[in-house]
Every structure is written in structure tokens, then in C-alpha cells.
Amino acid sequence: MNSVILQGATRLLVALILLFSVYMLLRGHNLPGGGFIAGLIASAAFILYALAWSMREAREALRISPVRLATVGALLSLGSAVPGALQANPPFTGLWLFLGGGDGEKGVPLSTVLLFDIGIYLAVLGSVLALFFTLEED
């Protein structure tokens, strides 16, 4: 497709959609959102990019092969079980670390749950794009 309007709008939209996907990813623990839906949103950004420009350019914009991205994401999710294992907790027990907390302030919460979600985000993004690219490219 070669439309100036679409291409112009895409430039703006892709950045916004990707930003929104990160927002959805981070708010996912306590509010609607999470790794899966954020991954779908992010893949929508790349699919839009592919429609406005071309498959090849979308692949280049991603910089890393989607299959590899999915593999890394899945490994990351699995790796989130490791900190729990080191403390002899049951598998996939959520562990939390509060950065800069104290005086009633909780600080920035970091957790194995977040790590798991980031892994899912990458896995979903990678596998959806892998599927889309394979089905679209003949």
C-alpha cells in the first residue's frame, strides 16, 4: 500500500502505540492490562507499520527476528521462577523488591511477576509477528 496519509499517520501512531503497550504492560498487576494484551498492542504497531510501508521494512524496524524474540521472551518468563527456587519457595511464588522504600513510601516495586509479564510481552509480540510475516510473505 502506498498512501501518503497512512504513512504520515503511521509515523506518529507507531510510537504512540508502542508507548501505550509499555503502559499497559506496567499497570497490569493491579489494573486491567498485562503482558499478553500489551504484546498484542505492540504487535499491532508493527503490523500497522508493515501495512503502511512494507513487510521488509517492518522486519528491519523490529531489528531482531520475531522467532528469536519469542524464544527470548519465553525463556525470560521461565527464568522468573529462578529467584523463587533459590529461596526454596513453591514454584512461581511472587517475590517483591521495593527500591528506595521507607517512611511509609513503598518505593518502586520490582517483582518476579513483572519479569514474567515482560517475558510474556516479548513472547506474544514475537509469535504474533512471526505468524503475520509468514502468512503475508509469499
Binding site: 493491579n30 489494573l31 486491567p32 499478553f36 509469535s127 505468524l131 509468514t134 502468512l135
Partner: protein, 122 residues
Amino acid sequence: MESALVIVIGVMTATGVYLMLASNLLCYLFGLILLSNAANLVIFVSGRLTRVVPPLIPKGLEAPPEPVANALPQAMILTAIVIGFGLLAFTLALVVGCYRELGTIDADHMRLAEPIDPDGEH
């Protein structure tokens, strides 16, 4: 409300099964989509339909202050949708592959793996 949804499920299932009985693989695929969404709706209905708030606990409370929607069926449907999405995409890719390699999407004409012996020797 439940009974309306149950009728919808019934219609979707019937349509899905009808489509899946066709020998055209694309029809089969559409039937599969309908049937898998009917299955998701079954889970949705079995979680009971209530007009209540999302199952989120506000800050400072241990339990939700008022009745909330049942979150478990929604989690299950989400899982089922994700899995269904993956399987459908795979099946679609397979049908496309069949069309390219075998030149047909009519299941009745796919006899490569189980050839009919013309002279009945085997």
C-alpha cells in the same frame, strides 16, 4: 439474559458443526472458529452473568467492598482464546500449505497418505 446467550450458543454450535461437515477445508475452518467461540461463551455463561464491578480490590482494603464479577471464567476464556488463536492460525497456515502443495482444499480429493489402490491388490 442467560437464556438469550444459551440460544446464541446453540445457534453458533449448530452453524459451526454444519460448516465443519463440508468437505471444503475453508468451510471447516470457519466452522471451527464458530465452534470455538461457542465453547468460550459456554464458559462465560457458566460463570453466571451479573451486573457487578470488575473484580479489583481498591487501595487499603483486604477484600472487595461489594459483590464483584467472577474472575476465574474470564481468565479461563482468555486462556482458551489465546490457545484457540494459536491453533486457528496454525490450521490456516496448514490449509494454505495444502492448497499450494496439493492444489486443492477439498478433503475428499486428499488421498495421498491413504491411496486407493486402483487394482485392489492390497
